[in-house]
Symmetry: C2
Subunit: 416 residues, 2 copies
Amino acid sequence: MLTKSSTELVRQRNSVLVLSVLRRHGALAHTEISDFTRLSSATISAITTELEKAQIIEKSEQQPASGRGRPRVLLRQRRDCGYLIVVIISSDAVQYSLVDYAGKLIDRFSEERSHDPAGAVRFVAAVRAGLLRILDRSKISQEKVLLISISSKGLVNSTEPVLVWSPIFGSEQIDFESALRPEWQAKVILDNETLLIAAALGAREEMVKGADFRSLAALSLGHSVGLGIVRRGNQTGQEISAPNFGHMLHMANGGLCRCGTRGCIEAYAGFYAILRSAFEVPLDTIPAKFVPVAELDKIAAKARQGHRVPAFAFRQAGLALGNGLSRMLSLTERMPIAITGPGTRYYDLLRQGIEEGLGQSHIVRMEGMPEIRVVADEQILVFEGHLNRALSVIDEDIVLSGVHGAQASATIQESG
Amino acid sequence: MLTKSSTELVRQRNSVLVLSVLRRHGALAHTEISDFTRLSSATISAITTELEKAQIIEKSEQQPASGRGRPRVLLRQRRDCGYLIVVIISSDAVQYSLVDYAGKLIDRFSEERSHDPAGAVRFVAAVRAGLLRILDRSKISQEKVLLISISSKGLVNSTEPVLVWSPIFGSEQIDFESALRPEWQAKVILDNETLLIAAALGAREEMVKGADFRSLAALSLGHSVGLGIVRRGNQTGQEISAPNFGHMLHMANGGLCRCGTRGCIEAYAGFYAILRSAFEVPLDTIPAKFVPVAELDKIAAKARQGHRVPAFAFRQAGLALGNGLSRMLSLTERMPIAITGPGTRYYDLLRQGIEEGLGQSHIVRMEGMPEIRVVADEQILVFEGHLNRALSVIDEDIVLSGVHGAQASATIQESG
DNA sequence: GATTTTTTTCTCGACAGTCGAGAAATTTAG
DNA sequence: CTAAATTTCTCGACTGTCGAGAAAAAAATC
């Protein structure tokens, strides 16, 4: 449904635009902002003075003039405009990071995760405690925290911050919104971890290729299998989604998966599945909850030495991934695939299977093999994705709700 | 990438908004437009007088006043503002329809399709002749044709009107843009047939449910298998896609498909596949080019009488469809599925397989079986989808490029 | 038949936003 | 000290939307 447009909307959108180029390129002068946004100098003046009055951006300290002419005055976000807490939930720990409005990391710690099975309630309590702890350590007032950005593996509700299914808690849903609302007025967002990886890679790619960038998929290999897809939207930035790839059907009536279904991709390509297959355990045995990486390393070593059974296990995993990717490509379009996660260390063993699995589909035979690249530093990508996403959400929120109100309160502060 | 906004953009978007409510609700009075668009009366005046000067809309004939007060003046699109040619390519014929700007059908005919294999070039020539023929019959000047909207089964390039793969011509690409550009200045768009069905069903659904509508998939069963997905976009209307569903991998190293790959869904669920399976022909035999529906009816009759082999053929088809749909749902979200096409007459035989195939996946086990409905009148839906899509494209084009220019030329005409 | 009521359309002034041009500011080069 | 260069700021013009009220036009009422 289309909706009406007004001149205020124009100002809002252009304000967000100014903030976003500031975000992307760091501190910028008036003229540079004008160049990047294609807005006239007069408009930049109007917008920046408004944002400055609202205490969202500030003029930077005078820096040594680097040429003739009137020296530039750089504009940058005010670090103390607001704060962001990033919560990264992984299988064995939860990492809390406090970040300021300029994207600078202020504080960070990790907490071990309790592995007790009936732990959803206790887990939520732990997250609440962790959030209060990082706030307490920083001496920042709670109202200044504008956003809490959470990520986890698993399936996430697309509109609300509800974890619908996760490898650890299964179908025991976790609603972060209602869990945190009592003590936090900050907005809460929740994203799938691999989605954030895809978003970060997409942003990097767009930096390089510019308008040529179309789409990209990120595949994360580990105890579980995740997929994120980022596509260039029609007009409004990027469109990202995190399908339930690990539990997409690979083969009807296939191996038993952790989720209780038979034949999921993960039941062939997850770490536990490779282990199960390498030890020739029947495919309908209930899989191990957790597999030490060292264990898998041993299997990989044997496979590299030429032992048939472990090599076959990796090959089967590759085939499941390749088939799944080919199905994903059939449902979307040809796009490069970036593989991340701890599983990349076995890529030499997986590769042939992946390529064969991809090659078995019409789309790949017709359009050719998609570009596959291995990307390290999964953790950095996740955090980068958090920042990209969270800070632009904050920018939008500030402009949408804040500028006029904040401007008024700023005037009061000045006169008071 | 965000882009700058300006006041002209506001006017453009609001003009499109006015045209779209006119499109949706038929002739409307000033006040009604204001109600629907939430724009003020003054703005409606400004926009409508502009559109009227540009000869895009007109005041309707005075109708008997139906109450007290100043009588309403209805505004409607000018039928002669421009024309649209709809070309529906099906396996045995090509249908040409001439439609005016108000969406009214003016002329229509079908032409048999030559089934010669080396026919891509000849086929394009036939389409060009057909287009000229329908233009000639109508006595409309060629410049008045603003858009040629083509649909076909198969895989379509998402940005340009290029048929990438089709059941009949295979990988022999057809670029309608370059084929028609010499003699037509009209814009050319090409869509997958099932995508248009999905778009039409989505529009209907949105009429009923309003903002509650989220997404919907249309599955078309026939000689080939098509899928269209429509999702409510973030802000700008609907987002539709037509994946290569029929040739998504169903089973690695499975039955041979028309496309030359093994294991496509169509190689189990297409009409030829059901035939092959019912006659217990080996799955690697090259499939029949064309299967008379009567032949399939016979098999269905036997299956309904309880014969095992033909019943199994339908069941296998259902399983392939169900597995494929479950994979699609894993990659998107839970959504209702509408089944159309000639294959719906065998739905009683397919149903059990489809449901079982769906049930084998994690997503369906977790979120439950999606709603499945059978929808008749596929042809009507295709045409409706064409109109929805094409006319809104025309509206946008007119406003974007036309209003000021057309206004100028109108003034010239008046003074001349 | 004149007047009032009701409903719709049109018009006017206020306000918000962007833009181009040029003025003002401020530094380096000579 | 002056001229040149460069950046920032300001002003008036233009476009757009809005609310209020005037104008139009028919039915209802006296």
